[in-house]
């Protein structure tokens, strides 16, 4: 499909891959926060590893939003072939 054949589309996909690996890999090859550790406790109850991942989740969401806005929406707004 065309979306992944555009330069912008490919750049965004590369960003997603890097973000996802960086954000969620729980060991020595990425952020090791949280592997058998719960400190620091944010607000006295939210383990640091979880807080970190909650923030990253929404960063990924914002990148998805930009991807949808910049790459996808202009393509689906075109008059479609075959319609």
């Amino acid at each position: 499909m065309g979306i992944l054949q555009t330069t912008k589309g490919r750049i965004f996909c590369a960003i997603f891959v890097v973000l996802v690996i960086f954000a969620f890999w729980p060991g020595p090859l990425g952020p090791s926060i949280g592997y058998n550790i719960y400190e620091p406790l944010f607000f006295g109850w939210l383990p640091g590893w979880l807080f970190f991942r909650y923030c990253i989740y929404y960063i990924i969401w914002i990148v998805t939003l930009i991807f949808a806005w910049v790459v996808v929406m202009p393509l689906v707004k075109h008059k479609k072939e075959g319609d």
């Binding site: 499909m1 065309g2 979306i3 992944l4 054949q5 555009t6 997603f16 996802v20 954000a23 969620f24 890999w25 729980p26 060991g27 949280g34 592997y35 058998n36 550790i37 719960y38 406790l41 607000f43 006295g44 109850w45 383990p47 590893w49 979880l50 991942r53 909650y54 989740y57 990924i60 969401w61 998805t64 939003l65 991807f67 949808a68 996808v72 929406m73 202009p74 393509l75 689906v76 707004k77 075109h78 479609k80 072939e81 075959g82």
Partner: protein
Amino acid sequence: METIGWIILCGLSWFVIKGVIVYIAYKRTLSTMDSFFVAERSFGVIVTLFAWMGTMFSAYMFLGLVGMAYKSGLGVMIQWYIISLMPLSFILIGIPAWKLGKKYGYVSPIDLFVDRYESKFLRYWLAIMSLFVCVPYLIMQCVGGGWVLQGATGGQIPYWVGVVILAIVMACYLIPGGFKGMSWVDAVQGGLLSAVLASATIFLYLKAGGDLAGVTQKIIAAKPLDKLLTIPGLVPVWTYNMFIFMGVMGFSWGLFPQMYPRYYAARDEKVIVIFALIFGLIAPLMFFHTTILGQITRILIPGLTGKQVDSVLALAIGKFAPKWLTGMLIAAVFGAIISTSGGFILSAAALITKDIYKPLAKGKSEKHVVMVGRILILVIILISVLIALNPPTYLVFLGLIAFAVGIQMAPLMFAAYYWPRGNKYGAIAGSLVGMGILIFHLFLGEKYLYTSLWGIPPGLLAFVPNLAIFIVVSLLTKPSSEETIEKFHGLLKRTYMPKKG
């Protein structure tokens, strides 16, 4: 009034409200497959979003995940790993699926892949794989329904009665209303369900002292329970390999068979994009909520083991919440369970009706085929209930089986949109190997459904050779015909490539 009285009152009220909605949907549903299974491709963002939320936020969410959080700890939140990739998956898969569905009139995912890969064998093979995804989920919902009623009434309503009531209600509102009825009901109940569950959470939170920091300190003090706050967890489930498996599954989710009716039913591609983004924004809040409930119930009802773990939320509500709230909550959770089941039952019925029955019953009218679809809904419900009456140990195991099978379809499904060189030989060889590895693990026993060789989840262990074989065999054998490539990839490329100048 006693708890059981409130449950019956609230449940009947819900049933009547849903009945009215389903009746309206029934009157507006034509006797065509397009109308019954994909609602004439007319849904906007709100109905699409709530219909999907109704399918996703289910017994697995409110019972399986709360139970898992109770057992293994906050590591359950790595489910975010799945959700974070879902919006992207919905966009990249949903848009081409919608386009092809609208252009060629598909109502089930298999139609599309049979045409794309030019293989009749794939019709039956993918139907079987899809049922492996849908049926465990259905059983999970039926089991959840039984436990909810039993737990909240302190055993006054036995487990089997809960399962049977669930089946009757499902049949009453799915058979007449089809996809339209189910989605409208979901849209109406989604908001109410969230409000009732939030009330119950706040109540349990206050019952636990109104202090999450205090709950956390109690958990830390009760070593080794402090591992509940870490990954891989008290029961070390959330390992490196599980993270990778979750990532593959997250991206594959948009390819799962139950997603296709949602794509096909959308009014246009923008509906899919906006729905995916709104879903991504609000979904973690629901996961957060259920995981925190797992921690709170650990303090309120300590020491549960085995099957009791999955009913911990119902037990806590029955024990601590006021009776009227218990009634409302049980009715709402029951509604969520029915919504989830409905999504899977309709997907399964569409698969069998369109992909297996219709090709065998040539010359039959659309009305006849829709009638067969309705009968199949009843048959699927009955089979699920029979299995649910003797359930397996943990709800989450059933979910893992469904997920593991689901990702075996991912390579051939993704390639159908993005890799013209993929062909039927690769698709069949890869998926056969993937399923073979999974079935082997089923025979090895429950322990191996979590982790297999080198601690790798079996779903992932099967996915890697599946993908490799799909690529290698496709490259070594004859590609699909030029007409087919043009029909699929040509159309998508012309439609979704930016216009130069």
